[in-house]
Symmetry: C2
Subunit: 208 residues, 2 copies
């Protein structure tokens, strides 16, 4: 990775690629939803999925709902930044969307699981990787239990996975502790990180 | 410089050493004064000087006014983080003050000239170095002229110095462009940088 020293008198403030990650139940989705609501001027990436559309969902807003054939073609053409099979459905991030948003000068925010974030680190070393953490394992388990969407077995699996994911924090650039009832503080801290990153003197070259 | 990976479940949020620097006339002093006024919870370093106290100045607030003998003793005992001779008067930053503030858990903000910032980089690699820049050389020259405190010769000297200092931006971590009439934005950006730095996963060890 090469870096350039910016010229303060002629600073184009290049847009950033920001990854929001963290264990299941930590609050990644609500954080991003709140940031959208607060009107931050970022491009929030829409994931492509082969999962069937559910009532109330909007194509292009919640997901890009595409066929297995279309998804396969995107893999074939190396048009996905990252993809994974989640409970039998394919999910992936279209490179074209990210490229277009960056080209328009907007900072791009992506929500990806911890394993996906590691992949992004490998292919886009200039990306800013933010790990959202609970304040403690007890707090995380409490939040997972509150969702009441998992069986005890699924819950045990999520907790075990979260414990493994927490060990991957070294892959990330920043960790933001998303405290219970402090969602706005979490959003502000993410915005502060983006603001600060745009002021870095040594800026890695952005290639995608 | 060794770094440690922080544990999000047990994060003591160590205080930071922050250096605010930049060329003469860029607005370092007004920025720090405004930050004090806005009530940011930082410790703003008070410089020690051998210059005689002026009417209206307060010992321990504007400066620590000390004798040449006291200053010499501090140099002798390696009790100054950095010092310089400015127009015949000695100015320096007492290490003890910085140590005490850091020990109390407060982030420490120091205002130092560009050469001094380079010195700090050498002795405290963990320090966060912020370079304040004007939006253009014309803007900087305009502000220097507005002060009306310098002769044309002094002004030419300051402009030449500023040009050299601007080339040192690579020594710094961040550059904040202090735009005319945007002082609050400058303060907010500095606060965002401090907020972001406290979230870094790889945190350099703090030794002073």
């Amino acid at each position: 990775m090469t870096t350039e020293v910016i010229d303060p008198y002629n600073d184009p403030k290049k847009p950033l690629l920001v990854v929001i990650s963290g264990p299941s139940g930590v609050g990644k989705d609500v954080t991003i939803e709140r940031m959208k609501g607060l009107g931050y001027p970022f491009h929030f990436v829409v994931t492509a999925t082969t999962r069937p559309i559910r009532p109330g969902e909007v194509h292009g807003k919640d997901y890009f709902f595409i066929s297995m054939g279309e998804f396969a073609a995107m893999i074939e053409q190396d048009e996905l930044l990252e993809y994974a099979v989640v409970y039998g459905d394919y999910k992936g991030i279209p490179k074209s969307q990210v490229r277009q948003a960056l080209a328009s000068g907007k900072d791009v925010i992506m929500r990806i699981d911890v394993q996906g974030a590691e992949t992004i680190r490998g292919i886009a070393p200039h990306a800013v990787l933010i790990y959202i953490s609970a304040e403690s394992e007890e707090a995380l388990v409490h939040r997972l239990r509150q969702r009441k969407t998992e069986t005890e077995g699924q819950l045990a699996m999520r907790i075990a996975t979260a414990r493994q994911e927490q060990k991957k924090v070294g892959v990330f650039d920043y960790v933001v502790v998303n405290k219970e009832d402090e969602l706005d503080e979490t959003c502000q801290t993410i915005a502060a990180i983006i603001n600060a990153e745009k002021c870095r003197v040594h800026r890695p070259e952005v290639i995608l």
